[in-house]
């Protein structure tokens, strides 16, 4: 089994590295997008899957990264690498603020509070015309020359996402991650054991926000454009759906969910404009039948099939 998994992993690595040689321009964009949203979903998974706090405002943190980079590059005419640093810093600050407020709540209230926080950012992006360009957003965000080529950019994203994914994986499997799992199971027990629960959660929220912001930064470099819809509730919703589809708490499942949603949305868009209806139906069906995610569901079905054969 271990050997099999390793072989699978290597095959997968070869696949993602070979993608630019195999795919044409448009599918390459999709692959890049899937990686970026995989990172976004992974950042949500730190809270939703590991710490047991489901956020519905991460679209805003994603957007903060996008907007800061876009503003710094176009309006302020700054340096691209500097803009990345600023974007990450801004996401960290906003996430720390949001987190400090949100971690005082749990369950549905956490979800609602993060939703309200996300709406604040959306509202600012939508109304603060002089800075964010309101509905029109900010256009003409150019990639730095070094990563301007789509192939190079793909590898840049692949490298960044892999590195970020590794950092998240380390984080979740560190004593800090264990503490988050402990809080997810019983925050009162963790408090009794001497953990500072709000502080631990705020740090987790902040880190999660930085990774969401990083995804937003990569996205604005891919898209060359940012608008309030990138910050909206729909964005947060879609990210959460990716996490759940891939299986909350698995981390790497985020990429499965992201690939499914991105590929499906593009396939569907070719035939119909009803993508948002299909997204909604996916949400409903997932919640009713496969809230453990596609992989989890598949495993359960295989087990069921196996059990049925043994019985027969």
């Amino acid at each position: 089994m271990r050997f099999f998994l390793r072989a699978l992993l290597i095959a997968f690595l070869v696949f993602v590295i070979a993608i630019p040689f195999v795919l044409q321009a448009y599918p390459l964009t999709l692959a890049t997008e899937a990686l970026i949203f995989g990172l976004f979903a992974m950042s949500i998974d730190i809270l939703a899957g590991v710490a047991g706090r489901v956020p519905l405002g991460h679209g805003a943190l994603f957007g903060v990264g996008s907007y800061v980079v876009a503003y710094h590059l176009t309006v302020a005419g700054g340096n691209a690498w500097m803009s990345i640093v600023l974007g990450l810093a801004a996401s960290a600050v906003v996430a720390a603020l949001f987190g400090a407020l949100a971690v005082r709540t749990t369950g549905v209230y956490f979800l609602l509070l993060t939703l309200a926080e996300g709406m604040i950012v959306w509202g600012i992006c939508f109304r603060w015309t002089s800075v964010t360009g309101a509905e029109n957003g900010i256009r003409g965000v150019a990639r730095p020359a070094l990563i301007a080529d789509p192939h190079t950019f793909y590898y840049f994203v692949l490298l960044t996402v892999t590195l970020a994914g590794f950092l998240i994986w380390r984080l979740v499997h560190s004593p800090f991650g264990q503490a988050l799992r402990g809080i997810s199971e019983s925050s009162s027990r963790m408090r009794t054991l001497g953990y500072n629960v709000p502080l631990t959660l705020t740090i987790a929220f902040t880190l999660s926000g930085v990774f969401a912001g990083l995804a937003g930064i990569l996205f604005v470099f891919l898209n060359n454009f940012v608008s309030p819809s990138n910050v909206s509730l729909d964005q947060s919703t879609q990210g959460l759906l990716m996490v759940i589809l891939g299986g909350a708490g698995t981390l790497w499942g985020a990429f499965v969910g992201s690939a499914v949603v991105i590929v499906l949305s593009n396939l569907v868009s070719a035939y119909t404009e009803r993508w948002s209806m299909i997204l909604g139906l996916m949400f409903i069906v997932t919640m009713l039948f496969a809230s453990e995610g596609l992989i989890g569901k598949a495993k359960a079905l295989v087990r069921l099939y196996g059990a049925g054969r043994k019985a027969a």
Partner: protein, 283 residues
């Protein structure tokens, strides 16, 4: 004088918010379901009311049709979907989020993406004037409707057996069931009542805020904020929350037009952080 106009604007907006949010808080309070499709029900209610008003030439008939249609939609939502994820708060929330996406898209297919409005009855058109103040009659009517609905709900809550059962259910649903009351019927009735209020709100709001794709998310977020401020299942809380938001939204819009959302939701986020259950909320 300008200030008085804005006060009236705040009050009539608060009245509309109350109609929408009272339905939301009823459902959240008793069933513990955060219905994120409430905004979509509002929007669809508005559209249905518009079509019915145009067809019957009667605003009242339009409102009635909308309320009944959305009550039935609530029935389907509760029995058809939410029933399968009973007592699983997060799953329910996410399920209703999916329903909201579907409903919005269905509305877009049927009624299109243009901004629509509901024709107001003739006797409510134009402005009423008191001394030097001119004010649209229709918005005064919305204010009156909001107050009337508050009074009716208050009577229902505090003077009827059904209301007493609902209040008991908000406090301790298990105990209500234990003394032999059919809680599932009570839940369904509440869900339908709450949905009907969303539909009615859609008609009331559709005639002065207009109906357009995205109106659902806006009203939903206001409704959420009201309930967050007021506390789960509290009628008085919903009224106070609506008033507070009505004023914050109206005056925030004037004083800080670009940062209006921050003015509205900043205080809400702060309040929720320090009183997680809202002003009148109980665990």
């Amino acid at each position: 004088m300008g200030t008085w106009l804005q006060v009236l604007n705040s009050l009539s907006f608060a009245a509309l918010l109350f109609v929408v949010a009272s339905g939301f808080t009823l459902i959240f309070g008793l069933l513990r379901v955060v219905n994120l499709a409430h905004g979509a029900l509002y929007l669809v209610g508005g559209y249905v009311g518009m079509t019915a008003t145009v067809a019957t030439h009667s605003f009242a008939a339009g409102a009635l049709v909308a309320a009944v249609t959305i009550a039935v939609a609530g029935l389907l939502l509760d029995r058809g979907l939410l029933n399968f994820v009973k007592d699983q708060e997060l799953k329910q929330v996410l399920l209703t989020l999916g329903v909201a996406l579907v409903l919005d898209d269905v509305a877009l297919v049927i009624w299109g993406g243009d901004t629509r409005t509901i024709p107001v009855p003739e006797f409510l058109q134009g402005a009423a004037h008191f001394g030097t103040i001119y004010y649209p009659k229709y918005r005064l009517a919305v204010l009156a409707a909001g107050i009337a609905i508050f009074l009716l709900l208050w009577l229902l809550y505090h003077r009827t057996r059904l209301g007493a059962t609902i209040r008991a259910g908000v406090d301790d649903a298990e105990m209500v069931q234990a003394i032999g009351i059919d809680i599932s019927k009570l839940f369904l009735l509440t869900f339908m009542l709450g949905s009907a209020l969303a539909g009615l709100g859609g008609v009331l709001g559709g005639a002065f805020l207009t109906l357009y794709p995205g109106a659902d998310a806006e009203i939903l977020v206001y409704g959420l904020a009201v309930v967050i401020i007021g506390g789960r299942g509290s009628l008085a809380g919903a009224a106070i929350g609506s008033l507070l938001l009505g004023f914050l939204a109206t005056f925030g819009q004037i004083w800080f037009p670009e940062l209006a959302y921050f003015v509205i939701f900043g205080p809400v986020a702060l309040l929720l952080a320090f009183r997680p259950l809202g002003l009148f909320g109980r665990a």
